[in-house]
Amino acid sequence: MTRRRWLLPYLLIAPGLLWLALFFVLPNIQMVLMSLSSGTIRSGFEFSWAFENYVEAFTRFPDNVVNSLVFGGLATLLCFLIGYPMAYGIAFRGGRYKTLLLFLVIAPFFTSFLIRTISWRIILGDQGVFLSLVRDTLGIVPPNFSIIGTPLAVVSGLTYQYLPFMVLPLYVALEKIDYRLIEAARDLYAGPWRRGGAITGAFGGGFLAAALMLGLRYASLDAESLVPLLLAVAAGAAIGAVVGSFLISEAFVRVIWPLSLPGVFAGSILVFIPTLGDYVNVELLGNPQTQMIGNVIQNRFLQQNDYPLAAALSFILMAAILVAIIVYARVLGTEELTGGRG
């Protein structure tokens, strides 16, 4: 028996390897072959080293790539800003309600992804609950203000869908922090951090305001929208400074934040990667100007029946994500990705 011990690990990973070989490696080989084929759906596709598919894939859809990066990036940023306080609250103040609160975080997954997205169509619609409150009752936005069919709707949808993927790794990282470290920091005079917090908050708030104004296309980089853009940055910085000076303590900066970084990295990867390739939110909440690269791939596969170009696009997207993760892992160490620090 002991001599056979060396076999055990291989036996244990065999089902997983087989699964990956059948449902990941083989389809990907087929995809690569398809991406180098030419022909039409009626005449059939033939492998022909058609590298021009890759040239076309790289050059033809710059707007959709930009949309993917911008909307995915904004959604990740917003997930972080919403998710960090949430995870922090559950980890440090959850008490005996921790399990219940975590359950609530993942509760949306009990409803179909599509039903949830379609619900947002109704909630954010012109006669929906949200607009009737902010537009009709409060009068914050002009009467012709719409959300459906704008980048705001798409980013809101993405942020909502992927928030749990940010909260859970953050919670794991925060929950592991030994509270005695924080007490020790306080004993060593890590008190409130007024000025530093205000400055950090101001920079963060200003950056967020600029990113939202530009990313959601309420402003662009021209002279005309310079004034509203600067106003928004100023407002964001002011709010950020106030929030920062109250919420960011020196103990947080020196102890909690560094120890929670693995969760931040893991969460941001788990949110950013799927949002990059998402197409359902755009399909249901966006308009022709907000189409992401996932929509292009879907359209090529299903509407145009242009399998080779779709395969080339899919392969490029996958390869780009893989390269990004490898760089990320090299720079930060692989344990950051799993959130573990031994």
Binding site: T40, D63, L114, I115, G125, S146, Q291, Q298, F301, Q303
Partner: protein
Amino acid sequence: MTDHTTLTGGLTRRRFLQGTALTGAAAFLAACSTSGGSAAPAEPGASAGDGAATGPLQFANWDAYIDLTEVGDGEYDLPSPTLDDFTAETGIEVEYANAQIEDNESFMATIRPQLESGVATGWDLIVLTDWMAGKVVEAGWVEELDPANVATALANVRDELKGLPWDPDMKFHYPWQSGATGVGYNSVSTGRELTKVADLFDPAFAGKVTLLSETRDMFPLVHLALQGLGQASDTPAEDMTADDAQVVHDYLKPFVDDGHVRAFTGNEYLQDFGSGDTWAAMVWSGDLASSAGENDVFVYPEEGSMIWTDNMIIPKGAEHKAAAEQMVDFVYDVARAARLANFIYYISPVKGVADAITELDPEAASNPLLFPPADVVAKQHPQPTWDEAAETTVNELYADLSGV
């Protein structure tokens, strides 16, 4: 325009919007997965069942295309009396997938891989528009109908619907309904009457307009509008070429870029009319009258409209072929066809339905959705037939407009 352009009042029935949205979601899910997304594929060997018809009949159809039961004051929802009667009479259960099909292309994308590789699609009866049905028949992806099982249908189908080049002897298909493509709008939101396709581009409706994702409706209708404006060639809409489509694209592009046209949709425009996000759109004729609000109106545009027929076909390898044939035959009964058409406001393919409807509901005789007036018919165009090269060009133009 004359009275017949405004089709509201007593005709309107309101469907539960939520139900529509959810079935729409199911259709979308199916459109997003190439693996069928429906019932489990049957063994090809078990197909084309001879002898006794068994169920459950897997029936995929478009939204707002079946009669419904009144469930409240002016509110209607499934189950459908027609389908219930079918089950009562034949003992065959029907699993009716309402709104499973939102447009021809996206539905076909969900079953094409199965048809190509010769496995069952999971559907026993599907409804496709002429041009797509023709392609599917020509590809050999359909079961041949047993004439003995569809005798009523053969006897009752209107003569002008017979003799199509892709199925001259009615061996593979029977029409479900015919209808028109025109303009729909919410009269309260728009604040005025719309009479033309060109009215969709009124700056007052910016961001509240949707066009159809069905290229054979969308391009010809805008072509007609441009002819009205003197900006397109004289080619009739049914013969429009890829070059004409390019002209349409160049006209539409600025309206899409500045957000005037918010989306290209299939049947899901019904939800957008319901939520108020769409004020005016290209729509199919009967939908708004049967399934939208009382202020949602359909007009036959002054420039002309498109006319098409949707057809029932049995996809290759269907597990309950005999049941599907029974359904085809069942809906060709004159009285049943009259009840169905009078509910969904589409044009029945069954002979003698006109009289039956008038008997059922004297007011319906003047309904232009059921009986398009002569001046409307004179301006109706069949959908264009494009060869593969033209179709590829048009699809690329459409992809560019829809931002992908």
